[in-house]
Amino acid sequence: MTAEATLPSRWRFGRLTGIGPILALLAVLLMVIAIRQPSFYDPPSLLAFLKRAAPLVILAAGQYFVIVAGDFDLSVGSLVTAEVVIAARLIDGDPAMTWPVVALMIGFGLMVGLANGLITTALRVPSFITTLGMYLILVGAVYTWTGGSPRGALTEEFRLLGRRGIEGIPFLQQLPYAVLVLAGIATIAVVLMRSDFGKVLLAVGGNPRAAALSGARVNLMRVIAFLISGLFAAVAAVLLGGFGGVSFQVGAGLEFTAITAVVLGGVVLGGGRGSVIGAMLGAVTLEVLFTLLNLFGVSGALKSAVQGLIIIAAVAIGRTRRN
């Protein structure tokens, strides 16, 4: 660099522009909520909101790794459903089975991620197709295995993670476990993206040829991204199983909600650009928006139409801003 090189103020601004729009949007929505329902900001209610938002934020973080590497993961919604249904049947109300099954769920998430990654890289199937296929396979397999309706039951120990928290904390009343899990996942995601791994992953998404010619193991990086997505989906499934309950609907449509959140957070489809913080903020913003729609009495049936509008608008705005 030459002498005129370092202008700290400029690069700080440059970094902010990445998550600037999503922060602004979130702020506006939060202000609307403040006017419409000030009680939203009571600490317990705020934490309850975060607890509700945690699974989507975690899924968005996982989806971010795949998208930023240039791929898609459409299998996470059905993976969540499969995990919850499998857990209910295996635990079947037996408390002793809780933790072994949670471990199994994590393992299953990693396995699905590995399969997605290997099929996409080694067999060169576009990830859109790989994970769409995986989505259908998981749905079909779970229906077949359960004979059409979920069986078994989750234990109270299992549901604890999604529903309960550390009680008796002054001012907050309860610190939900889901929020703690979310904080852990968010920390892991941010640290990963600040590490050499994260920077190279961005390069792989931005220009795979250049990354490979600089010595990066492009395929390995992409497989790892799918592994992270599978792992995070498994964690989200544990929370959702406790929070929601056992049904075939538990994960339905979550893959698109997660992708919408990531795109809303300023991450570019096709890879190489955007921050994981932006992706997670995108998920929070989406949840705030759904809360607002609820407050204004907009039918829940409109939720998917709103999502559709958002994803198209976010990508369109992203495209025009870049050109």
């Binding site: 690069w11 970094r15 050499d196 190279v200």
Partner: protein, 491 residues
């Protein structure tokens, strides 16, 4: 006069690629157009065939002024072009390709029989009865596909046929077929504009030769009255305007990298040594295997035969990553497609190889400091280390890539067109850097299409032709010797 181009000028993005060029084609004449890479041959052909419109100048056909808005209009007027890459639909038959978009019809349906008959007549008229109109185009050999292209042009009543490097993808025995075809077309009174790098073909086929250089017309010669040597002098003659850093004074050290009879699909029995402290220039035409050589050494498309030695011990490079670990660096020809991650910052781009090959958690801060020193050393001009590289000039982008490789402390550096599209000032800086690397003991291989650069920088020059070493020249050879070896004019 069949076709006349007068005073044709054309600029792209403010860069003048053609400057007042003119030439004439007579009926039944093969008129060759030659010149180095970037001389403007292809642009001129595209203007003649309507793909580009000239900024200035006139085109006359049979003495009447014409102007083409697109290739269709040129075709309708009787000017056909055969490109280096064919435009056939591989899944369709020969006849369907020839009559694509203007199939003969009967009562609203395609008249297959008429289409086949007419295709057969056309094929017969150029002595190619061996090709069936019903054969699937993609199953034909390259030479026969070319015949189909030519027949397609003839079916449009082409009177001028432009052939752009027609032998580039042909095997030796297929070239004979093309020669026969060209002579046949000549007899029919068709004027042919024949663009080629290969001087042998030019002398075998043409009656006149037009030489272009740097977008200008040098001369038009009668083939019978000139020689390959004289032609080469016309192609290269120019002033040396740029000063190059002094060459290595010390005798080069031991061989860092050696190839023994190394080959793959594009390279044949390459023997090459890169010694510590020297810059070895690689000359040759486009497609002669220059880039393939660098890519094979770097493990992109590996050698399948022969051996490679690194500091005397055999090494089979499996991948670019393996090459990087072995101390080899490769600065690619296409910075944007293969070098940079355009949306990432100067710093991230400079650290890419380091992070990809030796990721670490400890000592990251120290490493960033080291990279900053390298960026300062190569004098990158940027608004800051966080600026995205896409906003940098070509020269600064190239310096960022250099910093990336310097961080790996490579012992062998491969440069593919290191100063293409870079302004004069940055060019000199990059030349200095390359020389300094060699002086510090690295072995440098430098590919360049630009003869002054190749000659000015190299301690010796290895010229490739058709994937083989055509010859080796000592430091500072005349341009004619390089071009002679590259085109085969000397042999």
């Amino acid at each position: 006069m069949l076709l006349e181009l007068n005073g044709i000028s054309k600029s792209f993005l403010g860069v003048r690629v053609l400057d007042g060029v003119g030439l004439q084609v007579r009926a039944g004449e093969v008129h060759a157009v030659v010149g180095e890479n970037g001389a403007g041959k292809s642009t001129l052909m595209k203007i003649a065939s309507g793909a580009h419109q000239p900024d200035a100048g006139m085109i006359h056909l049979d003495g009447d002024p014409v102007s083409f808005r697109d290739p269709r209009q040129a075709q309708a007027a009787g000017i056909g072009i055969i490109h280096q890459e064919f435009n056939l639909l591989p899944e369709r038959t020969v006849a369907q390709n020839v009559f694509l978009g203007r199939e003969p019809t009967r009562r609203g349906l395609v008249d297959l029989r008429a289409m086949h008959e007419r295709t057969e007549e056309l094929l017969a008229s150029v002595g190619q009865e061996g090709i069936s109109p019903q054969a699937t185009a993609g199953t034909l050999g390259v030479a026969r596909q070319q015949v189909v292209e030519i027949v397609k042009a003839l079916s449009l009543d082409a009177r001028v046929l432009i052939m752009d490097e027609p032998t580039a993808s042909l095997a030796d025995h297929e070239v004979e077929l093309l020669y026969a075809l060209v002579r046949r077309l000549q007899e029919r009174g068709i004027g042919i504009l024949y663009v080629s790098h290969r001087l042998k073909e030019v002398f075998d086929l043409s009656s006149r030769i037009t030489v272009l250089k740097d977008g200008k017309l040098v001369t038009t010669l009668d083939t019978a009255a000139t020689s390959p040597e004289a032609l080469v002098r016309h192609m290269v003659g120019r002033e040396l305007a740029h000063y190059y850093p002094p060459r290595a004074t010390a005798t080069p050290g031991p061989a860092r990298l050696a190839l023994k009879a190394a080959g793959n699909r594009k390279l044949h029995a390459i023997d090459l040594e890169l010694r510590a402290g020297e810059v070895v220039g690689i000359g040759g035409l486009q497609g002669s295997g220059r880039s393939s050589l660098a890519r094979a050494i770097f493990g992109v498309n590996r050698f399948s035969t022969g051996e490679m030695f690194l500091d005397g011990s055999p090494l089979h490079v499996r991948s670019p990553r393996h090459a990087v670990r072995a101390g080899i660096a490769y600065v690619t020809e296409d910075r944007k497609a293969e070098g940079l991650v355009l949306g990432q910052s100067v710093l991230d781009n400079a650290m890419l190889a380091l992070r990809a090959v030796t990721p670490t958690v400890a000592g990251r801060a120290a490493r960033a400091v080291g990279i900053r020193e390298l960026l300062a050393g190569v004098q990158v001009h940027a608004a800051g280390e966080r600026q995205e590289v896409r906003f940098l000039s070509g020269g600064n982008q190239q310096k960022v890539i250099l910093a990336r490789w310097l961080a790996m402390k490579p012992r062998i550096l491969l440069f593919d067109e290191p100063t293409r599209g870079i302004d004069v000032g940055a060019k000199a800086a990059i030349h200095d850097l390359i020389r300094r690397l060699a002086d510090d003991g690295a072995a440098v291989l430098m590919i360049s299409s630009e003869l002054p650069e190749l000659i000015g920088m190299s301690d010796r020059i290895v010229v490739l032709r058709d994937g083989r070493v055509a010859g080796e020249l000592p430091a500072g050879p005349p341009e004619e010797s390089v071009v002679g070896l590259a085109t085969g004019a000397g042999s």
